[in-house]
């Protein structure tokens, strides 16, 4: 099957965010809204395991939700007291995020193009990188997100855990563990683990990396 071009993918997501319901638009298109709600909760719980269960109103954690879609994770993490920046390339998704509010600050940006004067305690990109079709853009995106993680901070990536790439459909290119680990090791990030979502036979899970250098 031929995969979509970057421009086609961008249009696809913008249209999908306008067309589909809140969770289905950024979640799993095959699941209904209720199932997607469970899926979101499962991943949110896994994010909590990685980000930790502490917060401080005076000295909050600063998080980046890269590819935030309509902002579910950003809003939920902001409810925990964290300061969250959400970025997404879709104008429609960011417009909806801004309408919903809820604490996070949103900007329209690609993953490779986000520039910040601040580093983050944790950068997460939940099921977004495998929708970047172009390998060079994928590399730029991963390296840019890594560069935004502070010393001791975490980079959390949703993708599959196998040792090779795999194409699902026309708009999903999963990169293998053999691509993530060397790339991020060279960026000074230590691989902690990969844990599958264990949700309805999904092959995807979270990679967790910690900046050590």
């Amino acid at each position: 099957m031929t995969v979509l071009t970057e421009a086609e993918v961008s249009k696809f997501w913008n249209d999908r965010h306008q067309r589909e319901s809140d969770l289905r638009s950024g979640g799993h298109i095959s699941f209904d809204e209720a199932t997607n709600y469970m899926f979101y909760l499962r991943r949110l719980t896994m994010l909590m395991d990685r980000i930790g269960l502490h917060n401080s109103p005076a000295a909050p954690l600063h998080l980046l939700d890269a590819g935030c879609g309509k902002g579910y994770f950003s809003r939920e993490l902001a409810k925990f007291g964290h300061q969250v920046d959400g970025i997404d390339q879709s104008e429609a998704a960011i417009a909806q995020c801004n309408d919903l509010g809820g604490g996070p600050r949103y900007q329209q940006s690609s993953l490779s193009g986000w520039r910040s004067p601040w580093l983050y305690d944790a950068v997460m990109t939940v099921d977004v990188l495998f929708h970047i079709m172009d390998d060079a853009e994928w590399t730029r995106s991963v390296r840019n997100l890594a560069s935004l993680v502070r010393l001791g901070g975490k980079l959390i990536i949703g993708d599959w855990g196998q040792d090779h790439d795999h194409v699902f459909g026309s708009y999903q290119v999963c990169r293998g563990r053999d691509r993530y680990l060397p790339l991020l090791d060279a960026c000074g990030l230590r691989f902690d683990d990969w844990e599958p979502y264990r949700f309805r036979r999904s092959p995807i899970g979270f990679y967790t990396f910690t900046r050590i250098g």
Binding site: H62, Q83, P117
Partner: protein, 271 residues
């Protein structure tokens, strides 16, 4: 510090290698001495310790480059080799993460980041001074304008404890400041939104008032053009000057009668 004051901070520089492509612009801004060779970076070239690598990283396409474009040259620096990278972003919005990534990956230590005066004209807001190292070397401070060397004594344990301690406390203090800044940004955004809304409401109110004034002007014009007004006006003028009224009133009435067609053609509502 002015941009032309940067090069004198480096001792024993015989060659300057530029990794960005500003042509002669950066050379002129730096006021590179005639006796110092100045050339563009050639990938894979060997540089010695007397070479200073310079580059201009920033958002302006053409004269400024992305951080990753500087990476190969940084890796070609020998241990002890120095680099000065000008950054084209304002300090308050400085996205240093990519430059830092490339520096650390290439084994370079950031010694100092120097703010530059007159940034608006030259586009350089600060200069990152770094050196390729195989051990930690002392940081420079904002108080120092001594020559930049890459071979100082390695910081002892006390200095490292100070360094990490300052980092930890600096990090703690930066969190509420970052929060305050974000909240101030939110307030500013909200105020901007409110101002735009008020401007819109004001424009609508002014437009409505203008329309009312225009309607009132038309009404007055129609009133003045009406036969009723003119007959009344002739009679009133006659009453004011009774001596002339015996002539002026009949003449005025006849004139109104003669021009009745023209009066009827007056645009607007007849009264």
């Amino acid at each position: 510090m002015l941009i032309r004051e940067l090069l004198p901070l480096f001792d024993d520089v015989t060659t300057i290698v530029e990794v960005s492509a500003t042509g002669e612009v950066l050379r002129e801004q730096l006021r590179a001495p005639e006796e110092t060779a100045y050339r563009p970076y050639a990938p894979g070239e060997k540089m010695d310790a007397d070479t200073l690598l310079v580059g201009f990283v920033g958002p302006r396409q053409g004269t400024q480059v992305e951080a990753e474009a500087v990476a190969p040259a940084l890796r070609d620096l020998p241990v002890g080799g120095r680099a000065m990278i000008l950054l084209g972003w304002p300090l308050l919005d400085l996205p240093y993460h990519q430059v830092l990534e490339e520096l650390v990956t290439a084994g370079c230590q950031v010694l100092q980041v120097i703010p530059i005066d007159n940034a608006a004209g030259q586009g350089a807001h600060c200069a990152v001074v770094a050196a390729r190292v195989d051990r930690l070397i002392p940081l420079r401070t904002h108080l120092s304008d001594a020559p930049i060397v890459a071979d100082g004594d390695e910081p002892d344990l006390r200095a490292l404890l100070r360094l990490t301690g300052e980092y930890v406390f600096g990090d703690l203090l930066s969190r509420p400041l970052r929060l305050k800044l974000a909240e101030a940004g939110d307030r500013l955004k909200e105020q901007d939104k409110r101002i735009r809304q008020l401007e819109k409401e004001l424009a609508t109110t002014v437009a409505k008032a203008d329309a009312r004034v225009e309607r009132a002007r038309n009404d007055v014009a129609n009133l003045r053009a009406s036969t009723t007004f003119r007959v009344g006006n002739t009679v009133v003028q006659g009453a004011r000057k009774p001596g002339k009224a015996i002539v002026s009133v009949p003449v005025g009435l006849v004139r109104i009668w003669r021009k009745r067609g023209a009066a009827d053609e007056t645009p607007g509502q007849k009264i």
